[in-house]
Amino acid sequence: MAKKLINGNYAAAYGAKLARAEVIAAYPITPQTAIVEQVADFVSSGEMKARYVTVESEHSAMAACIAAASVGARTFTATSSQGLLLMHELLHWASGARTPVVMVNVNRAVAPPWSVWADQTDSVSQRDTGWMQFYSESTQEELDTVIMSYKVSESPDIMLPSFTTEDAFFLSHTYEPVEIPAQELVDGFLPPFNPEIKLDIDNPRGFGSLSMPHQWYMELRYLIAEAMDRSRQKILKVEKEWKELTGRSYGGLLDEYRTEDAEVVLVNAGSAASTIREVIDRLRAQGKKVGLARLRSFRPFPTEEIRALGRHVHTIGVMDRCYTFGDGGAFFTEVKSALYQLKDRPTVKNFVVGIGGRDITMKTVGKLYDNLYKIKSDGLDEEKEWVDLKRPEVG
């Protein structure tokens, strides 16, 4: 295994290369451009035997991937923010067509105003589309998760598309030492994509077709729901296999750090988790029992893991690096929803933080833990708080 100093974008490109993606259709957008450039390099140099379609928009990128996957090719694309939003119609299409497209999304704020900085509204707002979605914390995780995503997505009993995210600049552009797995290792782990039914002149069929109210749309959607449910176990199984081969794993659907005896826990997704771990270690040294539950998979949602957490942790702060204008942030509402079934429900507070790339500093994380301790003793202050917001002066 070679070790290279690379950033998140290059890690994503390496993932696609090692997974032997056969058709790549992608459109550039800051800060994802290095992914498509590196892939183009791999293809031009012959290192990657793939067809690279230089599409004229992200919408066409996803259309081309869905079509290529329907022929039975392994596909890859990457995008961010506006590009992901432009694909939205076809994200629904990819899951409805059960095409296991794999994508990397660099989490970037949505316009207006223009912002190229880290924000998870883009990917979170795609939670309804039937795609599995994973949040990476490190460059290594990015590379490994892209490879694992193919195995999960292409499983005959799953056949759902998936995307892995990396925070803009914090992960996409930050260099870390990464172990590049050997091609032989990945080949042994990930067999070629060979769907049972595909566009085939020897077996002509109509893909997509038409339905009526009484048959069979509802049933076909149910099949997707079943597959998403099954994906929970599949993700864990695939990660276990990856760990046996490489020694690396990332905590399954909910990556917990020092939560076993935690009094207060922060729930977070993405690169800020690294900062939180650092704060936890310092606070723990001071005797504070704090922990982190990192949402690694948002779809499928780690319902059981959240409930298990809520059974022994009574004060939970859910960080949303996005806002979707519901009854609080998206992660917050879904965590609360999962906890609803518990007899003794923990207190849950929403921290809307890091929007538009605003830095989540160690100081900020420390403040959140302090707040959670105060809530633990004095009760909930306010249910939702926008952290580090430039507020007007009182008085």
Binding site: E22, A25, A50, H59, A63, A67, I201, G206, G208
Partner: protein, 298 residues
């Protein structure tokens, strides 16, 4: 074996949902005769997305990918890329879209695919409006026509803009082959498709399909109406191969008003308006002939 004027093989099953007298139905029947079974189609939202029937049935007997509205050409690019990646050769990739899915919502994808020189045959089957959703205007609706979104009314709000030329847009992309066709000339359409199939690169054919429902015409006259469109120079048959125009000259000149009187969608036009349209048709015809002349001078 009986000798037939067009290939005998049927690659569309009867029992489809097309209206009686539908030009678009004949168009696909002819196209798949021309191209044969080694063809994979991409079909966006359009009449042909609905006519093949409800799941699990499909009238089309070659593999077909039904796609989102805008994406016929991008999907065709994806199919071709996958076939190449898999080393599967000698398979036609046919994007089959209506005028809306080609010239309005689908034009970006079409432009992108042909600019990339993707190896596809793109056929726009043109019934001159969004017929699948009930006769709303498209950029391909001819000037003067009634549609539900250009419903004449008291403000004479029929389609006031001239028909967008898909073929000329493709010529501007410098693709190796582009042509017009009409279902009333089946041998010509088949010949053009087979010619296109044997040329490398992107090819575009726009085939006029009379639509009795949307054009408010007699189903039994669909073929006659297509002939009148061509013979009146409203829809001339021509090919452009690497910039060289070859224009079919009609045997005898037919007045635009004789074409228009076969269809209710032009019924509201008065003599003066028809005269203006005749002038426009004549002008466009002259322009086309000059393009043919210029190309041959080179």
């Amino acid at each position: 074996m009986v000798k037939t004027p067009v290939p005998a093989e049927e690659n569309v099953a009867p029992g489809h949902m097309g209206c009686p007298g539908c030009g678009a139905c004949l168009a696909l029947r002819l196209a798949l005769k021309a191209l044969g079974k080694r063809t994979i189609m991409t079909v966006p939202a359009c009449c042909w997305a609905v006519m093949p029937g409800v799941f699990p049935y499909c009238s089309i007997k070659v593999p077909v990918l039904f796609t989102a509205f805008e994406t016929a050409a991008a999907s065709a690019s994806g199919v071709r890329a996958a076939l190449d990646a898999k080393g599967q050769k000698d398979i036609n990739v046919l994007a089959w879209a209506g005028d809306g899915g080609t010239l309005d919502i689908g034009i970006q994808a079409l432009s992108g695919a042909v600019e990339r020189r993707d190896e596809i045959i793109y056929v726009c089957y043109d019934n001159e409006a969004y017929m699948n959703t009930g006769i709303q205007r498209s950029s391909s609706t001819p000037i003067g026509a009634w549609t539900t979104t250009t419903p004449v009314g008291t403000t004479r709000n029929f389609k006031l803009e001239p028909k967008k030329s898909g073929v000329e847009i493709m010529v501007a992309h410098r693709i190796p082959y582009t042509a017009t066709a009409c279902v009333s000339y089946p041998e010509d359409f088949v010949k053009k498709l087979q010619k296109a199939r044997d040329i490398r690169g992107p090819k575009y054919i726009q085939v006029l399909c009379p639509c009795p429902a949307g054009w408010k015409s007699d189903p039994e006259k669909s073929i006659q109406i297509g002939r009148l469109a061509v013979e009146s120079n409203v829809w001339p048959l021509y090919e452009v191969e690497n910039g060289v125009y070859t224009v079919r000259k009609p045997a005898k000149k037919v007045a635009v008003k004789d074409y228009f009187k076969t269809q209710g969608r032009f019924r509201h036009l008065d003599e003066k308006e028809i005269e203006q349209i005749q002038k426009l048709v004549d002008h466009d015809w002259e322009t086309l002939l000059r393009k043919e002349e210029n190309a041959q001078k080179k």
